[in-house]
């Protein structure tokens, strides 16, 4: 019986193969390996049956609380959104899921046309000229956009709004250590005046607090200073808000997870990156283009590959190779199913629920909405004496508050000195969840008055 249940070789096969190769055992092939390092004991557990491994994974899963299990207001770049049933049925078909990068276009048109459609849909949504075929995820996409700006301006200073998601900013800082870039963080309202000498201004709209930002003003300032404007965007917002392409933005980036991709505790996700035509040859990653075959049939291929690592090696625009293709295909299926009507409705429901909820919460004693100006589908809420209820989150990236069974985010030092809640709504936010949140905040507000003396 095989030890690897997925091996297709029987012992008889192995014997015949060894004979054909002319050896007695596989070890005869391993003479180049230092003897003392050969065949170590690893100390790994022994194998399991499928039934057993499933039971094991189910027992691990039972130790988590899923988003759907109770009131839920976490969000930000990763959002609990409705995924139509047809999305996984189509996007995860074996023919998509178990293919690789479409190196051979004759037998990969399924992948190539789907990704071409993804690029087209994203370009339409963001009103940008071109979208690439995917980046790893939002944060590193922002960093690679900054690299694009650095390459195309020849400048090494990146100016970034402090209302960009904390984790995105941290990722940019890490990446910046590679080419030794200078990163400056300023509030969005000061971005325009910090443009001098910058490769780019990076602004998020709607921002981390849900706030609406005058991107056009920032883009104008960037261009006046010879810099590029990079907007961090969210897919659904573009159904209702003026898209980056209409605001003078040069590069639009963002996290594509809300487009039909499960939250999956951190990934895999989808980095969106789109730009103006003039920047195409600075773009990182793969891009699919239309062409025709020898018989005149339309077809699609990976193109503009002279930007890429396998051709240009150390001169490539990025090192990215394996990307997030199946997530891009998923997003294409999602957008095709939702259409303008469905995407608009999902976006609107988030906005409507957020505003209704803000209205109720702001009426509680000591509470106020702390997002500056207008907000979209999430908002910050100032609550008296929040710290008491807070628990460190799964990734210390944000702080999540578990009040009773309500999951909600709390801002922390990483957003300056603000110590508020951030409340994200989507089309999935149910009335009962909103009631539970209101009740939870009400009790915090009440206990704050009682327990001020015992704080910290």
């Amino acid at each position: 019986m095989n030890k690897n249940p997925y091996s297709s070789h029987t012992d008889a096969d192995r014997a015949a193969m060894l004979e054909r190769v002319g050896i007695k055992s596989v070890d005869d092939l391993l003479t180049a390996i230092p003897k003392d390092a050969l065949r170590p004991k690893l100390g790994l557990p022994t194998g399991m049956s499928e039934l057993e491994i499933q039971a094991h994974l189910e027992s691990l899963a039972a130790k988590n609380r899923t988003a759907g299990a109770g009131p839920f207001f976490l969000g930000g770049p990763v959002q609990r959104r409705y995924i139509p049933a047809a999305v996984p049925v189509l996007a995860l078909r074996g023919e998509f899921l178990t293919a690789y990068t479409p190196y051979q276009p004759e037998v990969s048109q399924g992948t190539l046309q789907s990704i071409f459609e993804y690029q087209s849909l994203i370009a339409e949504l963001l009103a940008m000229d071109v979208a690439n075929s995917s980046m790893y995820e939002g944060g590193s996409a922002v960093a690679e956009a900054a690299f694009m700006a650095v390459r195309s301006t020849g400048r090494k200073k990146v100016v970034m709004a402090s209302e960009v998601y904390f984790e995105f900013r941290r990722t940019v800082h890490t990446y910046a250590k590679g080419p030794d870039l200078e990163i400056v963080e300023v509030p969005a309202r000061e971005l325009a005046s910090a443009a001098e000498g910058a490769a780019c201004l990076i602004v998020q709209h709607p921002d981390a607090f849900g706030g609406l930002v005058d991107v056009r003003r920032i883009a104008d300032a960037a261009h006046a200073a010879g810099a590029l404007c990079i907007q961090v965007t969210e897919p659904h917002a573009n159904a209702l808000l003026e898209p980056p392409g209409a605001l003078g933005v040069d590069i639009a980036v963002g996290e594509g997870q809300p487009l039909g991709i499960p939250m999956s505790f951190g990934g895999p996700y989808l980095g969106i990156l789109a730009c103006r035509t003039a920047l195409v040859r600075q773009m990182p990653g793969r891009v699919v283009g239309e062409t025709h075959d020898a018989r005149g049939m339309r077809g699609f291929v990976n193109t503009l590959q002279t930007r890429e690592q396998h051709i240009r090696r150390e001169k490539a625009t990025s090192n990215i190779c394996t990307n997030e293709a199946i997530a891009a295909i998923t997003a294409a299926v999602y957008l095709a199913l939702m259409g303008p009507q469905g995407l608009g409705a999902a976006a609107r429901l988030g906005v409507a629920k957020a505003h209704a909820l803000a209205h109720r919460l702001a009426a509680l004693p000591g509470c106020s909405v702390s997002t500056e100006g207008d907000f979209f589908d999430r908002f910050a809420l100032r609550v008296p004496r929040l710290a008491a209820g807070r628990e460190g989150s799964g990734f210390a990236l944000r702080n999540a508050l578990l009040v009773g069974d309500v999951l909600v985010e709390a801002t922390a030092a990483h957003y300056g000195d603000r110590d508020d809640l951030i409340i994200q709504c989507t089309e999935m936010t149910a009335d009962a969840e909103m009631d539970a949140l209101v009740a939870a905040i009400e009790s915090i507000a009440a206990s704050a008055r009682e327990t001020v003396s015992t704080a910290r």
Binding site: L57, V78, V107, A316
Partner: protein
């Protein structure tokens, strides 16, 4: 070889040019819609006019029946591991078990910022996976953040940079050495870190040329990026000498683990001289390649590099509960310590990592060992059959893959690409072609352990038939494929006239 002819069901849509399948925008009709989500009209009043989208959202309007047919048709145009042998060298296109997909869905509905008390199951899994990977590679610490091999390379070279800086050698060390057989991501990653790349040639046995390497080694060297087995499918014969030489000048040795499928239980990179190694779980650990991704690229390092790993780290407290280390990256720079900081927004490609964990636990140590043995045997078995029909670049036992050269065929006018395209007509996915660059007309073949022997035999027979046809009827090989959904595509046209999105019919 059986040809399936099938009319694509007719949707009645006219495409602008002859096509296998219309574009979504070509099946659009105004007023079509599903009803997946509805409502929210009251939101419009909440958005100030200045911010509202002016141009209509021009996504195609479609119904669900149309979308289902569209993507079903498209899927059927793909060759995939689920349909046939996919011997793409360097990519380890082994079978992706369906149970891995099923169990991954158990964790689909977890938000990455949930409080630690609500995700103990997920954190336990990750912590255990780190331990398993460390044991497998013979390393001391692991980060699961990198999304793929290339990001692991970037992460590691950034760590090398931090390491040298910490030792006061940051300014001095500016060069990364890569062999000429290296994958393109290696020099690209080094360059992203601001380093200069020095390429070292290979010797007559397919090893890195030790003399050239030594000549390149000075105290300005950051490190060496080495793939082992290398991209020729060969185990570096003087590996310890290579590593020692690098270490001798204060450099570090990066292991590109794309070829770990040859080494499971065979040898630990940590025992061989590497300071770190990445693993492409989408290769070695069977996670589906997803038409190009996602993958995951855990990076395993030796103790001296631990402090530089991306934060935050998963740690276990006295009660056996998992949480994050206190030196958090939300109070940078102090909170980061020596860590380079995060390389992505959240933890890593969790959904991929669950699959890798499931695969490792399913096979167990003995199964993983068997997988590498079978993979090595399968490659050598194929090589034995093909040795006479194609040139072999470096003729010694290979590991889990090998590289042929179609130079002999090229003289008859048939290139490696032509051989690949002819394989399509024989019912196979072509191997990797023209890589590694050191082998002219390279055909890089990796059968993996999950292909049945009769399939390997059929592949060998097809390759031999093509070699014969190259002699007797080279034109027919150059005309391939003729039984694929499309004939060869005009890639030059695509690059010269980039059409990167559809035009809406007007």
């Amino acid at each position: 070889m059986t040809i399936r002819t099938q009319v694509i069901p007719d949707s009645g849509v006219k495409t602008s040019v002859p096509a296998l399948e219309p574009l979504l925008v070509e099946i659009h009709e105004e007023g079509r819609a599903g009803r997946h989500v509805r409502g929210g009209e009251e939101a419009d009043a909440q958005i100030p006019a200045a911010f509202r989208r002016k141009a209509p959202l021009g996504l195609p309007e479609l119904t669900e029946p149309q979308v289902v047919r569209h993507f079903t048709h498209l899927a059927q145009l793909n060759y995939s591991v689920d349909t046939g042998m996919y011997p793409l060298g360097s990519c380890t296109m082994k079978y992706s078990p369906k149970i891995n997909d099923r169990v991954a869905s158990l964790f689909a509905d977890l938000h990455p910022t949930q409080p630690q008390s609500t995700v103990q199951g997920a954190l336990t899994l990750l912590a255990d996976l780190e331990v398993m990977l460390a044991k497998l590679t013979g390393m001391d610490a692991v980060t699961l953040q990198p999304a793929a091999g290339a990001q692991a390379e970037f992460t590691a070279i950034l760590m090398f940079k931090a390491y040298h800086q910490k030792r006061g050698e940051g300014a001095k060390r500016r060069r990364v050495i890569v062999p000429d057989t290296a994958h393109g991501t290696n020099p690209a990653s080094a360059a992203m870190c601001g380093f200069e790349v020095t390429t070292v040639k290979s010797d007559a046995h397919g090893n890195i040329d030790l003399a050239s390497l030594k000549a390149a080694l000075r105290d300005d060297v950051v490190g060496l990026m080495l793939t082992n087995p290398n991209t020729l499918g060969l185990f570096e014969e003087r590996l310890r000498e290579v590593c020692d030489a690098v270490h001798a000048v204060g450099g570090l040795v990066y292991g590109d683990g794309a070829n770990m499928n040859a080494l499971l239980g065979v040898a630990r990179p940590g025992d061989l001289g590497f300071d770190c190694i990445h693993i492409n779980v989408h290769k070695t650990f069977s996670t589906p390649h997803g038409a190009g991704g996602p993958g995951a690229g855990p990076l395993c390092v030796k103790e001296p590099l631990r402090a530089f790993l991306p934060k935050p780290w998963i740690v276990r407290d006295d009660q056996g509960r998992f949480h994050l280390d206190t030196a958090r990256d939300d109070q940078p720079p102090a909170g980061l310590g020596d860590s380079i900081g995060r390389v992505r927004t959240f933890l890593g490609n969790f959904g991929v990592l669950v699959r890798a964990y499931t695969y490792m636990r399913t096979l167990g140590e003995e199964g993983l060992v068997e997988a590498s043995n079978d993979a090595i045997l399968a490659a050598n078995y194929l090589l034995a059959q093909l040795r006479d029909s194609y040139d072999v670049a470096f003729d010694r036992p290979c590991m889990h893959e090998f590289v042929l050269s179609a130079t002999r065929q090229k003289k008859l006018g048939v290139s490696a690409l032509d051989v690949g395209k002819a394989l399509i007509d024989e019912g196979f996915h072509p191997p990797t072609v023209y890589f590694p660059l050191v082998v002219p007309e390279a055909l890089m073949i990796e059968p993996t352990e999950t292909e049945p022997r009769e399939t390997l035999d059929a592949f060998a027979a097809a390759m031999i038939r093509i070699a014969e046809r190259a002699k007797t009827d080279p034109a027919s090989v150059k005309a391939a494929p003729k039984n694929a959904p499309l004939a060869r595509l005009d890639e030059v046209h695509a690059a010269r006239n980039p059409t990167l999105k559809w035009q809406r019919p007007t």
